[in-house]
Symmetry: C2
Subunit: 230 residues, 2 copies
């Protein structure tokens, strides 16, 4: 079952040589499955190798260590996620507001709403402290994530030139709601539904757009009754 050799190969072959690219990809996939299933704490070199159906020594042949492997997986997972979100966003519609809604809905689609996926991201985040490379991957991918949101918001702002809008802060706020709700849903799916999460994001976006979060406002965090607070 774990060995999908063609039948003609016979039982004699001990292993199959693969190109570095193929093998690296297989190792990353196996690592991903292990992280999702057991979490970072229980994911050992041996667990990964058993999942990938290779021997313990192979990982250190392709990677300098466990840390480098996981950093590589992080980069791949983050890029895949962003690509998926962008696809769904573009599929949603033409104007910026509709595409933002598509972004929200894709964020809370069944593909992403998985406790295993949360375990994967928690593993990455826990490693940012001990591993420079993992922290670097986080910075790089999160910046791209923000840039995607900023692009949409800039487009949306140009459609409504009468209002000022701090694109950077608004994007940060959106990513905050999205991430926060996603984490909480994965930790306890019974608290709210994905559809409710999307509605919350829409409402927050409207609030961020109305306020504008203009950079000219006072720098300190004074509470100050909100200007449009009625």
């Amino acid at each position: 079952m774990t060995n999908d050799e063609t039948a003609a190969d016979g039982p004699l072959r001990k292993f199959r040589r693969q190109s570095p690219d193929e093998r690296r990809h297989a190792l990353m996939e196996a690592t991903l499955r292990c992280l999702a299933e057991h979490g970072a704490e229980k994911t050992s070199i041996r667990t990964i190798c058993r999942e990938a159906d290779v021997s313990v020594g192979l990982i250190n042949h392709y990677y300098s260590g466990k840390e480098a492997l996981i950093a590589d997986v992080y980069e791949r997972v983050a890029n895949d996620l962003l690509a998926t979100l962008r696809d769904e966003m573009d599929r949603a519609g033409g104007d910026a507001r509709t595409r933002l809604s598509g972004f929200f809905q894709a964020s809370f689609s069944s593909v992403n709403l998985d406790a295993g996926l949360l375990r994967v991201w928690l593993s990455f985040w826990s490693m940012t402290h001990q591993s420079h490379s993992v922290a670097a991957v986080h910075d790089r991918t999160y910046r791209m994530y923000l840039q995607t949101l900023e692009g949409l918001l800039a487009e949306l702002a140009s459609e409504r030139p009468n209002r000022a809008l701090d694109v950077r802060l608004t994007a940060i706020g959106l990513s905050g709601v999205l991430d926060g709700l996603w984490v909480e849903w994965c930790l306890n799916p019974r608290t709210f539904s994905p559809a409710e999460a999307v509605r919350i994001c829409e409402a927050c976006l409207d609030g961020l757009l109305a306020t504008g979060l203009s950079p000219t406002a006072s720098a300190d965090g004074a509470p100050a009754s909100a200007p449009g607070g009625r």
Copy 2:
């Protein structure tokens, strides 16, 4: 230095007997320091015992295992955080809107903005999968956290009876922004400032209040241009 015996005790005493409550408290504090410093992966029974200046066997005398100890720490940390937030909130002012601002500011005060503290929470969250008790602590404490926000929002809604407001969903949204921004700040403090985080929360709150998130709205997550959207 680690032994603060009174001078008269002399160098002969090997250890000091303590009451179960004292010892349990000391073990929890030591565990907290270890989780903040090294993360869950590198926090072993031996690390904790060295930090608490006790022998390896003592933990299993007070707790059924590592898991039970950490669940206990989780409960304590979550309760302490909520108590602090409530204090700062009440200190902020009288009306609900001002107290909510106080809640925001306390969430992003220097006490909470610590990468070590994030490591602690990541440890807890990663364990919800393998440990029933840790998951139970999360459910219980997060519910109390939500109830605090819901109380403030209900109070705020009663001050403005003309608008409908889904208190539950709004509280979930707020907790999402707060958590999401907090996690992201701890992962990379250079992206935005605490004061900016507070401003974002205020703007999101205004948006949530304006929309009302009334439960009568369509249940599906249809984008639909927001009713009050200018």
